[in-house]
Amino acid sequence: MITNGEVLIKVENVHKIYNEGRLHALNGVSNEIKKGEVVVVVGPSGSGKSTFLRSLNLLETPSTGKIYFEGVDITSKKTDIDKHRQKMGMVFQHFNLFPHKTIIDNITLAPIKLLKKSKADAEKEAMELLKLVGLQEKANAYPSQLSGGQKQRIAIIRSLAMDPDVMLFDEPTSALDPEMVGEVLELMKKLARDGMTMVVVTHEMGFAKEVGTRVIFMDAGQIKEEGVPKEFFEHPKEPRLQDFLSKIL
């Protein structure tokens, strides 16, 4: 939770419009994410929180507005977004492990092909990551042989294998059975404690309170309120946020 004030991601007045203007998913969003922050994004469904997160690594291309990552305008046509995505890990609601590859191959694919690591080096590092999450014995299993919680932990370390500067989480526990949520949140907490910069879209308010350094409330494609968790949850100012919190807490 050490923030040294260095801005990692800067979002400038981003709009995202779908269906020829019928859907305004993002309506003028600006924000700065600093190194070491754990930013938790909450809001009702359809509020644009996932679109916001997915636009940070340009899985959604903003209709207008700019996004800077480590000082580079990644929304510029001239930027090689693939290079920058290597430094932005992403974890999905539905894990998206590669079903045709073993667990170890899932983890080592990108380091070998993109970072040009040797197979031996990549596998050694992958085994260390597997040890971190206690799943070494699954190295040669296929994703279909794993539980949801195990799949999500593998998906997280698959991203970590690229040694990213920021990790983006898109509702990482929403598709899990309740008894598996804990193991994934534990791993995310560990990452946060180790100083990883994280942006997390989630409904887990406990996680937001415990490890979030800042909470953002989105509604109707805009950031309506943000603040440190204690203030955010105990003294919400925005009526929409008060309403939202009363429904989920």
């Binding site: 999905f92 079903p99 045709h100 092909k113």
Partner: protein, 229 residues
């Protein structure tokens, strides 16, 4: 019974007439094998263009060309395409007929294989594509390492079926006076005036080849299914 034996000897033994069948089979297999390869190559290229356009909106002109190709090829009989290539395109040239047949059946098969590949690519969950891109793979790498291997596995049964269809379709090669298996049987019929046994033999040979091929595909399918989800 004696009658049957006489006919059998006359159809296949006399003058070594069984050679018409074995030589014809060789031609049929040669055309099929090389046309399959050509068809897969053409189909793969068409599918990549079409699905890239579907996914990204790029390659507009190439996509239109591919669409025209697929529409024309699938909308006209293969035997007409074969004759056009032989009598019109290469009409004034002395060209190897087997080569013409390979070209015609390969081009024809390519249009069908393209749609098979494309449906395979589009059947892969969008999350797979996003996972690849978010790791830093570019479009081409994501296709190559993540989408294609899964798509190929999904379309294998359809692809196997297409090859079986192709094998049987080559039986119209006789239209450009190629002596394939069907033509071989027909030549025997015209020599001996017995239609039953030569055509039965031809049918049997096709059937056996199709069964062997079906078996091979199912073995390959089972191997690939080891990593199923």
């Amino acid at each position: 019974m004696q009658n049957f034996k006489d006919k059998f000897v006359m159809d296949f033994i006399t003058d070594d007439r069984w050679h018409y069948l074995t030589d014809g089979l060789k031609v049929t297999l040669e055309i099929t094998f090389l046309a399959v390869i050509l068809g897969v190559v053409i189909g793969f290229i068409l599918a990549v263009v079409r699905s890239t356009h579907d996914k990204t909106g790029k390659m507009k002109i190439a996509n239109v060309i591919c669409n025209i190709y697929i529409t024309v090829i699938r909308g006209t009989p293969v035997v007409v395409q074969l004759m056009i290539i032989y009598f019109v395109v290469f009409g004034s040239m002395d060209i190897n007929k087997i080569l013409v047949a390979i070209l015609a059946f390969g081009m024809n098969s390519g249009a069908y294989v393209a749609e098979i590949f494309r449906s395979g690519i589009m059947s892969i969950d969008a999350g797979q594509f996003e996972a690849g891109r978010s790791l830093g793979f570019n479009y081409r790498q994501t296709m190559m390492y993540i989408i294609m291997p899964q798509a190929f596995k999904n379309v294998l049964p359809a692809l196997g079926n297409e090859f079986i269809v192709l094998l049987k379709e080559t039986s119209v090669s006789g239209y450009i006076a190629l002596q394939d298996l069907t033509k071989g049987g027909d030549i025997i019929r015209s020599r001996t005036y017995d239609a039953l046994l030569p055509l039965l033999a031809v049918a049997l040979i096709y059937l056996v080849m199709v069964m062997i091929f079906t078996k091979l595909v199912s073995i390959l399918e089972r191997r690939l299914r080891n990593s199923d989800h």
